[in-house]
């Protein structure tokens, strides 16, 4: 089976490492981006199975990055999930309305996180 490929866009080094370690341990292939611009660029070039996008990023923020991904036919179909520390219920609705495929709140649950991400994968690449 093909290893599912996840692009993690996260500016906080420690959180990036955590997500990366947990997902790699669970059998995902992980690429990382430290800014919205880099995330959009890598998504275009790498065509991951799912993009995990932090909302608060230096430069363009998560909302804008999503808009750019959706606007480009090359990336418009990618599943994009918001991973954010914005904790309010209204934040969740805001992200869903903005067009994210899903929402995972920080702090993540290490035990459940891989399953949560797996749920957003496109059918072809389920490990």
């Amino acid at each position: 089976m093909v290893r599912p490929h996840v692009l993690v866009v996260e500016d906080n080094a420690k959180n990036l490492k955590l997500v990366k370690d947990v997902l790699e341990f669970a059998g995902f292939g992980v690429s990382e981006a430290r800014s919205g611009e880099e995330g959009v660029d890598l998504a275009r070039r790498l065509q991951p199975d799912v993009v995990l996008l932090d909302l608060q990023l230096p430069g363009i923020d998560g909302m804008e990055a999503l808009r750019q991904l959706r606007a480009d036919p090359v990336t418009s179909a990618l599943p994009v999930v918001a991973v954010t520390a914005f904790a309010m219920k209204s934040d969740r609705h805001r992200t869903l309305v903005a067009g994210f495929d899903g929402y995972i709140a920080k702090p993540i649950s290490v035990r459940d996180f891989p399953d949560q991400v797996r749920g957003f994968l496109r059918t072809k690449s389920v490990p």
Binding site: N15, V22, F25, A87, F120
Partner: protein
């Protein structure tokens, strides 16, 4: 009849005398009746009565002239006269008669009886030859006008030759003097009455004007409107032609026109463009001296900047009244006339009333403005506070994510085994991180409640279900300390309409506290009952109790109260937050406790939401999203499915057992149901049967999601779809798309714009 008797044996001389007497008597009678008629006719005009009296006295006493002098301010002043020249009357008016013996009038006043002087020229004591020379009289008779034993005046008859008055004339004069005294009394009364009613009318007018001003002040917070009313009324009541209200600016040390009345626009424009400073203007002087100042004629003085404007605008006299409040200068009220002329004290008094009203109005308006500014500032501060808390919460959450996450990675032993102590310490790190997170969440919640931003999501849910859920979360901890947990729900209780998540949060907080403060071997009981239209939930423990002095304090933030050390630390915000949430649900939370025996924390909320809380009513789709009831007892599956569904913009209502699920579907009338089969209390098959058997829910599509692969049975019982776990997101959404709950485009990635 005496006439007949006399006529009986009388000579012709005697007859003639008797006839003359008769004629006299008739004349006297006629005169008296004339006076009486005049008195009657002119009851309201005593002045006319005096005219009649003085004329009748002259005629009946056969005198050349007659006069009435009234005692005013210590001397006798000529009031009425007949048969005397203007020159004489003018002279006597200018030189009134003294209260002494130099005139017969003076003497009569002193002696209080009728007297006559046969020839004033022969009287050595007579002192007013000046008068005598002008009028030419010789014989004078005077009668005092007495009123309540006081001399009010003297009635005199004068003959231009020496011809003393007879007894009959003396009697007549006495009678006329009495009438005159009464008439004077009436004059006084009428004058007093007139003065009174004038004063009353004026007072009334002032009161009305002040009332109007007061009304304007209370009816309007618009200062301009109030001041316009004041200045208009001030002008009207002082019978001036125009006026203005000046407001003082402490920083500028000057005045500006705040409101004006009767003033041409160009003059007003000039006034607004002119500096009216404190130190060199009439207005300024009036406020510094704290008293009204007036300029009766602008033609006669050196004009200051303000007065120059007015003068050029055609104004000729000005009065300025200071507006002070606790000896601070607020401004000045100015009235003006187009003609020169003094302002009476009364006018200035009246203006001071208006000035006080204006000062008060301006003062109030300033206070109001201050309050407005302050509350706007407070709003900004509160906004900043909320934003600060939200961003702080976010900033703290980010490192916490790493702390908790890496602890979990190690505790999950993803990268190798740990020894016992390492595992224990890691667990401490993890639980401290979790604790910090909880604290963060509660601070955020509390700030939301206080900023009025906590939104309630009202649904009807099972009371028992919610209580069981909360208790299930502390069961492990309770059994660890051998604390017995029990639940007692009244039989007549079914569902309550509230925010389910917040309700559970409150119950969980109370139950957690109870377990925390109950010593090993104790018990914690949760009970729920109906009380009128309210639901009352009570959590009773067998802990140490809360001493009376701490019973209010423990509801404050970060206060533990004298309950001894808890077995585990809390956030110190739980009770504060719980009480706020209950209040938000239109309920109340309270404590009863007995030291040494335990405590009961109880709250009551309306069984049916009273509507002040925001949120959708049952059956509505949240924010336009379709609503799906998810019946699932396994926590990881629940979280995963919730994430899938919410990711597809579906409003998820969660039920943790079959019975709760059934009730949720009945209440919510959702777009679809996702149903697990292995469920507590009532299994999924029974739920499915019950839903399909009830006409109210038979049409709701049900998608079964189970590890039990009994597709045929499910479809036979009426399920619209059947998925076997593990279920992928797309499978779940496809199943919902098949029953038209979601658009197929939500899951097929190709159709996105």
């Amino acid at each position: 009849m005496p006439e007949e008797t006399a006529a009986g044996g009388a000579s012709s001389d005697e007859s003639a005398r008797l006839l003359a007497d008769l004629a006299d008597a008739r004349e006297q009678f006629a005169a008296t009746s004339e006076v009486l008629t005049a008195l009657g006719r002119h009851a309201s005009d005593p002045d006319a009565v005096l005219d009649t009296i003085v004329e009748s006295a002259r005629r009946l006493c056969r005198a050349h002239a007659a006069q009435i002098s009234l005692l005013q301010e210590g001397s006798y002043r000529l009031s009425k006269s007949v048969g005397l020249s203007d020159e004489y009357t003018e002279h006597v008016r200018r030189h009134p008669m003294a209260q002494d013996r130099s005139t017969l009038t003076g003497r009569v006043g002193l002696d209080r009886r009728i007297q006559q002087v046969a020839d004033v020229l022969a009287d050595p004591d007579y002192g007013r030859q000046d008068m005598q020379r002008l009028a030419g009289y010789r014989t004078v008779m005077s009668a005092p006008m007495l009123l309540d034993d006081h001399v009010v005046g003297v009635l005199s008859v004068l003959r231009n030759q020496v011809d003393p008055f007879d007894a009959r004339s003396t009697g007549l004069l006495g009678a006329f003097a009495s009438q005159a005294a009464i008439a004077v009394h009436n004059v006084n009364l009428v004058q007093a009455l007139e003065a009174r009613s004038t004063e009353l009318a004026r007072n009334l007018e002032q009161l009305r004007a002040l009332g109007e001003v007061g009304e304007a002040i209370s009816a309007s917070l618009d200062l301009d409107q109030v001041l316009a009313a004041i200045v208009m009324n001030a002008v009207r009541l002082t019978h001036t032609d125009g006026g203005s209200i000046m407001e003082y600016d402490e920083a500028e040390r000057g005045f500006s026109v705040r409101s004006a009345f009767g003033t041409a626009d160009d003059v007003l424009d000039r006034l607004r463009g002119t500096r009216i400073d404190l130190d060199s203007t009439l207005v300024g002087r009036a406020t510094i001296e704290g008293r009204p100042l007036a300029e009766p004629d602008l033609d006669q003085i050196t004009l200051d900047s303000h007065l120059q404007c007015l003068y050029d605008g055609g104004w000729r006299s000005v009065a300025a009244v200071p507006m002070l409040r606790q000896s601070r200068i607020i401004g000045a009220l100015v009235v003006r006339r187009r003609t020169a002329g003094a302002f009476t004290d009364e006018t200035l008094d009246l203006l001071q009333n208006f000035a006080a009203q204006s000062a008060l109005a301006i003062h109030n308006a300033r206070l109001f403005r201050e309050v407005e500014t302050k509350s706007a500032e407070l709003q900004v501060v509160s906004q900043h506070k909320s934003e600060f808390l939200a961003s702080m919460s976010h900033e703290l959450r980010t490192p916490l994510n790493a702390v908790i996450g890496f602890s979990e990675v190690l505790l999950e032993k993803m990268f190798g085994d740990l020894n016992e102590r390492q595992e224990e310490y890691l667990h401490d790190i993890w639980s401290s991180g979790k604790h910090l997170l909880e604290l963060l969440n509660e601070i955020l919640d509390l700030s939301k409640v206080e900023a009025g931003k906590m939104e309630l999501d009202l649904t009807a849910f099972s009371v028992r279900g919610a209580l069981e859920y909360a208790m299930s979360l502390v069961r492990e901890r309770a059994s660890l300390h051998a604390i017995a947990l029990s639940l007692d729900v009244a039989a007549d209780l079914d569902v309550v309409e509230a925010d389910e998540l917040r309700f559970k949060q409150v119950v969980l907080n109370l139950v957690t506290n109870a377990v925390k403060f109950t010593p090993a071997g104790g018990s914690v009981t949760v009970s729920a009952r109906r009380e009128g239209d309210d639901l009352v939930v009570a959590v009773t423990d067998t802990g140490v109790g809360v001493p009376p002095e701490d019973r209010d304090r423990i509801f404050e933030s970060f206060q533990q109260g004298g309950r001894g050390a808890p077995k585990e630390e809390g956030t110190g915000l739980g009770l504060t937050l719980s009480r706020r949430i209950v209040e938000l649900l239109n309920g109340r939370l309270w404590l009863t406790s007995e030291v040494g025996l335990g405590s009961t924390f109880a709250f009551s909320i309306p069984l049916v939401s009273t509507g002040s809380a925001r949120g959708p009513s049952p059956g509505d789709s949240h924010a336009g999203f379709p609503r799906v009831v998810l019946v699932e007892d396994d926590r990881p599956s629940l979280d995963l499915f919730s994430a899938y569904l919410e990711g597809a913009a579906i409003d998820v209502v969660v039920a943790r057992d079959g019975e709760e699920g059934l009730q949720a579907v009945r209440r919510q009338q959702p777009a679809a149901v996702i149903l697990d089969i292995r469920l507590p209390r009532m299994d999924g098959w029974d739920v499915l049967r019950a839903l399909k058997a009830d006409p109210a829910t038979a049409a709701v599509p049900v998608v079964v999601v189970s590890i039990v692969d009994e597709r045929a049975k499910g479809l036979a019982l009426g399920a619209a779809g059947y998925l076997v776990k593990p279920v992928r997101r797309d499978d779940l959404l496809q199943a919902l798309a098949d029953v038209r709950v979601v658009d197929a485009s939500a899951l097929t990635d190709t159709s996105r714009a």
